[in-house]
């Protein structure tokens, strides 16, 4: 049986929600599609980790200009900001492909609204209804589907943990906007006496943003990919994730990853975490600093409660958020219907 052809425009890297999403989607969809990866930048062909991963799946990667004329094939574009201004989307359409676009962010890319209006996007995918509503004007009249976000639960096994030094931390791409302006103060003011703070992925831009803070020995600021995401999350007792006020999370990939591993998430309200967890059962959704502090102290002081919540969070993520069969069906419907 010939599988339907799918050109996936994006990069299966290890840093950032969209890249890791692609990394987990490829194994999920390869039984249903004949997949070719398409890069907009040639530098990715020189990334051994990315190319090795694609090869291990028995797939190929090609440059955008090398996409063949393929009437009826699907071009799935995941979070490629330059797809519109570069003119690549127009070329894909000219080659007969059906363009399905998944933005992943809470804001449109340059040229996205114009492309939607011009009919260059055949279908828009969203990770949540929260995100879909943010794009409702742009995609009025365009076919839409909510695909959610798939994380391979096998990559984030549950691990019971009780660190000798209580450890809180977070995992996100190194973007200062993802952090509140007072980030290091926020952690330190929680009032934990003996504590370790771990943050991945840290880089020079974050050093610069928080140059005014004196990071003591309790801080462990590690660069992207220094550890695998799973190993990093296994090292945390709690995933404490305050977010900068200019950022809205369309889903919350690292939060679900933390849940899978058993790091209890403590996250802010105003995003869409209420669709990922039940407040007080599988994590905490906090309005104010006092809410964060109350949740963290309670989980710190009551190990039995923390353990119970960690198991509930992991089971909830595994059963309801990251079920491979459910996601495969959703994606097949979204791409073929």
């Amino acid at each position: 049986m010939t599988l339907p052809r799918l050109f996936l425009i994006g990069v299966p890297a290890r840093v950032g929600g969209a890249a890791t999403k692609i990394r987990h989607l490829l194994p999920l969809l390869r039984a249903a599609f004949h997949i070719t990866l398409v890069f907009l930048e040639r530098c990715w062909f020189r990334e051994p980790d990315v190319m090795g991963f694609i090869k291990s799946l028995g797939m190929q990667a090609i440059f955008i200009t090398d996409v063949p004329a393929s009437p009826g094939a699907v071009a799935l574009v995941i979070c490629e900001p330059k797809i519109f201004v570069s003119g690549a989307i127009r070329k894909l359409k000219a080659k007969g492909l059906r363009v399905v676009f998944s933005n992943e962010m809470m804001f449109p890319f340059e040229g996205e609204a114009e492309a939607a209006k011009e009919g260059l996007i055949d279908k828009a995918l969203f990770v949540s209804d929260f995100q879909r509503r943010a794009f409702s004007r742009i995609y009025e009249g365009v076919s839409q589907a909510i695909t959610g976000n798939f994380i391979d639960p096998g990559e984030f096994p549950f691990k019971p943990r009780r660190n000798p030094v209580f450890t809180i931390g977070r995992l996100s791409r190194p973007d200062a906007e993802k952090f509140p302006h007072d980030f290091p103060v926020f952690y330190e003011e929680l009032g934990l006496k003996s504590v370790r703070y771990r943050v991945m992925a840290w880089d020079g831009s974050l050093d610069k943003a928080f140059c005014w803070h004196r990071f003591g020995p309790e801080w462990d600021l590690i660069p992207a990919r220094k550890e695998t995401a799973a190993a990093f999350l296994h090292s945390l007792d709690l995933f404490v994730y305050p977010i900068g006020h200019r950022v809205q999370e369309s889903w919350g990939r690292s939060t679900v990853e933390s849940m899978l591993t058993g790091a209890v998430p403590v996250v802010p309200s105003g995003h869409q975490f209420h669709n990922l967890m039940v407040h007080g059962e599988s994590g905490f959704i906090c309005e104010t600093f006092q809410d964060f502090q109350g949740a963290v102290m309670r989980l710190h002081d009551d190990y039995a409660h923390r353990s119970r919540m960690a198991r509930i969070a992991a089971e909830h993520a595994r059963e309801n958020l990251c079920n491979p069969r459910t996601h495969r069906e959703i994606w097949e419907r979204a791409l073929l219907a």
């Binding site: 007072d182 003011e189 005014w212 900068g244 006020h245 104010t288």
Partner: protein
């Protein structure tokens, strides 16, 4: 400002007071004030950023002329806690027009929410402002952002509400920066017209009534009419 510096000398404080002024002031190192229309209400921050950086200090302490010293404020920097800035905070007045005649209070609160303040909104009692110099750029950037948000809402940002915003964006826990959180620094005063003064403190030009009940646990070093709390 002269009275402020004099009270410091009387209390045994001999730190330099650097003052931007249009005439010399005793007990202070004075610098000529310059017109800066671009500062638009944030002159104190502009001077701190531009002028204080030339003094090569790790911290800048801005003090309002209304402030008086009762004793040397030991460990003033402890007010910062983990934050790079300290401005005394007080609970926002729930009255439509507070004692200082701030009719725009609710609109400023809305501007602060829009600017990202998530906790209960506080107002500044800017008798003093301590800034770690390495954070001056971040403080100034936040101040300018808030001023822009406020102006876009038809408000005129003052130093007080701008500092209140910056403080709340950089401190995580505003409760720890409230006036009554530092009884060893501040002698909290109540509104003179609301107060049945149990005691009075005099410092030459300034007689303030204060209520010794409730939170008079420390040995306060400073007093200012700016540092009053409506809800002790």
């Amino acid at each position: 400002m002269e009275q402020c510096a004099l009270s410091a000398r009387d209390a045994g404080v001999f730190a330099d007071f650097h003052v931007v002024a249009d005439a010399p002031i005793s007990h202070c190192q004075c610098y000529r004030a310059q017109e800066n229309p671009a500062a638009d209400g944030l002159e104190a921050l502009v001077y701190l950023k531009g002028g204080f950086s030339r003094l090569h200090q790790d911290y800048a302490v801005w003090i309002a002329p209304e402030t008086r010293f009762l004793r040397p404020p030991h460990d003033l920097l402890s007010l910062l806690r983990a934050s790079p800035i300290h401005v005394p905070l007080r609970a926002a007045s729930r009255r439509p027009s507070d004692e200082r005649g701030d009719d725009d209070g609710p609109r400023f609160e809305a501007a602060m929410r829009k600017g990202g303040v998530r906790n209960a909104i506080h107002q500044a009692a800017p008798a003093i402002c301590i800034i770690r110099m390495s954070a001056m750029d971040a403080v100034f950037r936040l101040a300018c952002e808030f001023a822009a948000v406020a102006r876009a809402s038809g408000l005129t940002p003052s130093l007080s509400n701008t500092l209140a915003y910056v403080m709340q964006m950089l401190c995580a826990n505003p409760d720890k920066h409230r006036v009554q959180a530092s009884p060893n620094i501040w002698l909290p005063v109540r509104d003179a017209w609301n107060l049945t003064p149990a005691r009075r403190v005099g410092r030459r030009d300034l007689i303030l009534g204060f209520d010794p009940s409730g939170y008079m646990e420390g040995d306060p070093a400073l007093v200012s009419t700016l540092c009053y709390e409506t809800t002790p």
